[in-house]
Amino acid sequence: MAFLFGRRKSANSAKERLQLVLIHDRTDLSPVELESLKDDLIQTISRHIDIDPMAVTIRVAQDGRSQRLVADIPLRSVGRRRGHETGRAAG
């Protein structure tokens, strides 16, 4: 696709790279630490409710100069799980 629009603008790279760097500078949270936080979160929540670990996303969102941690954790629906069980029972 890139060739259709010519050379990628270097200012865009600068902005995107800075956006990520500033989030980590401001929160003192490295991408590795964020990933380990995500794993802990999945473990803890899984003890209480059935979630899809592969679908969990976690990121730091910007609101002016303040940051918030945003996690999206899709739940597995109870109905579908029952369906699976019924299926297995029938098989």
Binding site: A11, N12, K15, L22, D25, R26, G64
Partner: protein, 261 residues
């Protein structure tokens, strides 16, 4: 008189703090206000050469804080603008020769004498920076539209918030409108978006800045160059005037009319 204390900081070195401090001081003084600039960069003094006052130094900032002279004796009066003074930094000492409380005491005494005190901070975020912001009523953060300068500015803005010296205002220096246009330089909007603070000045890239520094005659003395006008505008905004930001695209429009890309 109760002066306002304005400190210019940046984190990263070489973004134009000293030039800007000198020119804002000149611009304020040219409007008839009594201004003292203070060089906070002890050991690496430069505000004196940018202002063209290097041959007139007798006493310096450390002489005042250590009691070897009175405040008045360390204030070098500019001959072009009789209401402009400089308190130079000591050249043979280091940042630890002055403490933040020394700076507060010095500025408290100065406040009674002048309308504005402009402090030029050294680069970095250590002692010299802490000294420079200790007495500030207002802090101006300088950056260039470059990755490293913007990152350091962000760090400094965070530290200012932590020290309750915020909200700071931003000056973007050395903006090249042609490079922004072709997508090879962060735009003013990009930088504001990233740093999320109020903008108080945009200074375009201008060869006249180096010419003026060569001669020791700050640009804001005449105000005819683009950068000189930008410094004048910052001074007016500090005084509370609403001054629209310059249209930096006009030159490009001219070039387009000439058929140049």
């Amino acid at each position: 008189m109760v002066a306002k204390v304005v400190t210019i900081v940046s984190g990263k070195g070489g973004v134009g703090k000293t030039t800007t401090a000198a020119n804002i001081a000149v611009a304020l003084a040219s409007r008839g206000l009594k201004v003292t600039c203070v060089d906070g960069d002890i050991g690496l003094r430069n505000l004196d050469v940018v202002l063209g006052l290097e041959n007139r130094i007798v006493y310096d900032l450390v002489d005042v804080t250590e009691g070897r002279c009175r405040l008045r004796q360390a204030m070098i009066r500019d001959k072009r603008l009789p209401e402009l003074y400089l308190i130079p930094a000591a050249q043979t000492r280091d940042k630890t020769a002055v403490s933040p409380s020394d700076m507060v005491r010095l500025c408290d005494e100065l406040r009674q004498e002048v309308d504005w005190i402009i402090i030029d901070s050294p680069a970095g975020i250590e002692r010299g920076f802490k000294n420079a912001i200790a007495a500030a009523d207002r802090v101006l953060v300088m950056t260039n539209p470059e990755v490293s300068a913007v990152r350091d500015a962000d760090r400094v803005i965070g530290l200012l918030d932590a020290e309750e010296k915020g909200p700071a205002a931003l000056i973007i220096n050395r903006l090249d409108p042609a490079m922004v246009k072709r997508g090879d330089m962060l735009s003013v909007a990009d930088v504001i978006d990233l740093l999320a603070i109020e903008l108080i000045g945009i200074i375009p890239e201008d060869e006249n800045v180096i010419v003026a520094t060569n001669k020791g005659q700050p640009l804001a003395l005449d105000g005819k160059s683009k950068a000189g006008l930008a410094f004048q505008n910052i001074a007016r905004r500090l005084m509370g005037e609403q001054v629209p930001f310059m249209d930096l695209d006009s030159q490009n429009l001219f070039q387009r009319l000439l058929g140049r890309k």
